[in-house]
Subunit: 405 residues, 2 copies
Amino acid sequence: MITVGTELLLGETIDTNAARIGQALAGLGMPVIRRATVGDTPDAIKAVVGEALDRTGLVIVTGGLGPTQDDLTREAIASLLGVELRFDEAIWEALVRRWATIGRTIAESNRTQAMVPEGGTALPNRLGSAPGLWIDTPRGLVILLPGVPIEVDGLLADEVLPRLVARHGSVPITSRMVRTSGIPESRLGELLGPLEEGFRPVTLAYLPDQVGVDLRLTAWRLDPPTASAALDAAEAAIRGVAGAWIYTTGHRDLAEVVLDAARAAGATIAVAESCTGGLVAARLTAIPGSSDVFLGGIIAYADAVKEQQLGVPAALILEHGAVSEEVARAMVVGVASRTGADRAVALTGVAGPGGGSEAKPVGTVWLAWWRGGQVTTRRVCYPGDRGQVRERAAQTALLGLLGAD
Amino acid sequence: MITVGTELLLGETIDTNAARIGQALAGLGMPVIRRATVGDTPDAIKAVVGEALDRTGLVIVTGGLGPTQDDLTREAIASLLGVELRFDEAIWEALVRRWATIGRTIAESNRTQAMVPEGGTALPNRLGSAPGLWIDTPRGLVILLPGVPIEVDGLLADEVLPRLVARHGSVPITSRMVRTSGIPESRLGELLGPLEEGFRPVTLAYLPDQVGVDLRLTAWRLDPPTASAALDAAEAAIRGVAGAWIYTTGHRDLAEVVLDAARAAGATIAVAESCTGGLVAARLTAIPGSSDVFLGGIIAYADAVKEQQLGVPAALILEHGAVSEEVARAMVVGVASRTGADRAVALTGVAGPGGGSEAKPVGTVWLAWWRGGQVTTRRVCYPGDRGQVRERAAQTALLGLLGAD
């Protein structure tokens, strides 16, 4: 897999296409064996695609199919393969129509997007103007996709994956994610290391991020029932030693797990956020269908908002400070009683970089949870910068709403 | 630059290190010429690092320095270079102390992190357990860094960049970002294409994302005053034809621009969010120092919260629906009057995937802005999925708070 773009090498843009294409191909049992990125220069594009064709029979290239002068992939590939580009009238007409439906006139510069290398097939792009290109050559198959992530998704689903399955069949690589929070990677490694040999042919990978460690179990090229049984056995072994830190199996975000648990209990949820400033609510509302469980909440950033919108007594803030167990407790009681929510969480803390003190250093957060009238509280001091403190505090808030913290 | 990890090829993890290292090196005038990713297999690591050493004099490798069985980079590089790994007592003692300070006992498996290839130098890692490694060889310089993004940042700033400057000097590549919103890439290309020749040796790249198109101007290997003058001239030319769509120059997020503008005007900000569910507030509070401008707000997801916490009349919701100009207006008036904010925005919409109708399809959002008692409203229908609708609506909300929409 090749991604093209000087902005990727300069680090102005994070390459998310590589991950989405890697996932899609792994699902077909065609794992990516190497991935490379080069800048918007024809020689570099030709060299890296040529080397990839020498190494494997299928090369996917993304980026550089746009309408501007720095979009050079189409020409570089035609030059590498020694074929001409021809203007495709049907693609151009489809582009003109597409722009007309959103009430705009197409720019002449988009004409380059209707150029197809000889012998290539255009792959219709529902979500953008550059069609993908499928080019079967004696050296192997080259697939060109635009760089815009949503267009990559659409073209993969509509065109590339069905065509690859039709051509090669599919022996899936099956993965299962077991998600943990609250235990460091090395400790997990000590618990699980002795078990790994017994998982074969299932392999285990540790994927740590800021808020936990995901464990990826992968069954390589087994038929589906065998893969499923092997993954079940490995997961059961992991749960036997690390079950206390597992909050879900699969790719669900913790917010989705929290919403599903509340929905199953017929409970509603509200939040009162100070230092996280809307992050907990944003994670919950990112999940489709959250509106049947999540009522809303108060972002009480200023003390006056804590007092007026949550009923936190000014004297309490004066006596204990805004970052205190007492204020967190008053915030959660305030939001639960004002919204009538069955479950609620409140956070007040010092996200930094300013505002820390010896008694309450940057990273100090008080959390309070409400569950049907019972309040529990917890103080945590998170390491990291402002973004990390906020993300980690939001994670703890959600874990507590789940009742698994 | 090489990143190591099967999870990257399978697409389970998005590679953010590549961007941060690319940026740091570009700033020193050492642009990355190619980047590659391979899985956690020693042969693949050896092959790709060997090829990179044949191509260039400096190879940075991230990932695979952790304590678990899938961390194989250290051994693969020692094998490639034909040197032994030796256990470094000083590194081990530092690791033991580090774990003790956070109240934990180090795992024996962390001992591999104290192994150093012969002739290599360990680079202290303030933020994690795996030190970086700096290995000067006859074939070139190989730098190994762990895979955890915050540790990469710390090692770059503390060790790698100062050492590279000391060794090679620095002729920076200077970039300037000009950020636009509200105009498609191809239209920008038509406006700016005729000007590009005149920018030389400054180059122009188009970096579209979901909420706008960033224009990156890059001065390649010019001394700082010449680079600055050339970038000024190019930026002025761009502003001449596309100024109406430019909201800032530089890397500041729109939320930071909004906060700075309000701070300069002595104004405070509040939000009332339904469909975006806290995203606007989360973007504002992500910015350090936002608390002197941003007061807070109401996440009014359920209608009852709109009524009770924002004073939206139930009859208004009944008559016009929750997604309506009238309700958006009542929400913004409610949050401004309850918090006393000088500037406020309210959003109510259909983020999808459910909830759409013929009159109000998925993507329909009503926005209302309050500025010192004046209310303006706007209806937008955003394309895309739930996440895109929410992100785009939050962007429009912030543009309106800036007064540049």
